[in-house]
């Protein structure tokens, strides 16, 4: 069993691209991407997020990475309405997803340790 990851972005392409980048570091970890308004436009939809959290869950819970304001709120709504043990990481979405992917490969990983690592991405210095 492993912790699952979900990447939520306003742009479906961004969500999928970020998943690609993180998947490079993810071993067998399940990472799902969801984004867009469901009609090819920019936005996020709670139902779609909820379904995606459901598919990422393997019994050990899910850590959710989000991009901007309304993605956060819609992810919260999705988690409240669903029955998966899921938490949102307060982290930059791409960098947090990469960190989380690495953390989730630890056999002792829990949603808390994965979230913590995702949030540590805030402090990454790139230069």
């Amino acid at each position: 069993m492993t912790v699952g990851l979900v990447v939520v972005s306003h742009s479906e392409r961004a969500a999928e691209g970020i998943r690609e980048v993180a998947a490079e570091m993810a071993g067998d970890t399940r990472i799902e991407a969801v984004g867009g308004d469901g009609q090819g436009g920019i936005g996020t939809v709670p139902d779609a997020i909820g379904d995606t959290i459901g598919s990422a869950d393997d019994g050990d819970g899910v850590v959710v990475l989000v991009d901007l304001g309304s993605a956060v709120m819609n992810a919260e709504v999705a988690i409240e309405m669903g029955d998966v043990d899921a938490v949102i990481a307060d982290a930059p979405v791409l960098e947090g997803a990469v960190n989380a992917a690495v953390a989730a490969t630890d056999p002792n990983a829990t949603i808390e340790t994965v979230r913590e690592q995702a949030e540590a991405a805030r402090d990454i210095e790139k230069l």
């Binding site: 920019i42 996020t44 709670p46 901007l68 304001g69 709120m73």
Partner: protein, 208 residues
């Protein structure tokens, strides 16, 4: 009680019409400090909500509120989806016993709390909370302390929301997309506060 439910459906239809009429206006406000979609978001979401509400069979107010909220969550997108929609679903539960002055106050308070929690926004952050707070405070006070009839309380609440909308203009945004603009957000009226006022005005017209 089922009469109440029909009145709520009628209110939702009025709101939908009004937001359609204000589509360009709201989008214009959102284009100054956001991403120019608030008019479309609201018009589309409430049109769909009105449609769904009309299809309900002998609905009670709680069911209408929750149905509209869920439809908004699914259709609106953006920040307004979870804020207007999610809060309506949540506050709708307060109408379980039908609409009375007491349940209306509980509904209003719960709605405001949910918006604040969800958006992590407080009054003065240049959001819909700035219109909601004076409206809810005034409504509650008019009913509970002044023992005014609900219609008068709602009229006062609507006036109060108008002051809240005006108050967003000269202050700096601290939440939502407008907050990215920093000081440049000063001088612009908040779109979500404005649409909140329009909704209140239509509720008032329905009961008046």
């Amino acid at each position: 009680m089922s009469g109440d439910g029909e009145a709520v459906v009628a209110a939702v239809e009025r709101v939908a019409e009004r937001l359609e009429a204000e589509r360009d206006h709201l989008t214009q406000l959102d284009s100054a400090i956001g991403d120019a979609d608030h008019g479309g978001n609201m018009a589309r979401g409430w049109a769909k909500a009105a449609e769904t509400a009309r299809d309900l069979d002998d609905p009670d107010p709680e069911t209408v509120a929750k149905t509209v909220g869920k439809t908004l969550m699914a259709e609106v997108g953006g920040a307004s989806g979870p804020l207007f929609g999610g809060s309506l679903v949540f506050a709708g539960a307060e109408l379980e016993g039908g609409i009375t002055p007491e349940t209306a106050v509980a509904f209003a308070e719960t709605y405001l709390e949910k918006v604040e929690d969800r958006g992590d926004a407080r009054v003065g952050d240049h959001t819909m909370v700035d219109a909601l707070t004076p409206a809810v405070h005034t409504f509650k006070k008019s009913i509970e302390t002044d023992e005014r009839p609900p219609l008068e309380a709602l009229a006062k609440a609507t006036d109060a929301a108008e002051r809240g909308v005006a108050f967003t203009v000269p202050i700096r945004a601290r939440k939502g997309r407008a907050s990215y603009l920093g000081w440049r957000s000063v001088g612009h009226q908040d779109p979500g506060a404005t649409s909140t006022l329009f909704i209140l005005q239509e509720l008032l017209r329905t009961v008046a």
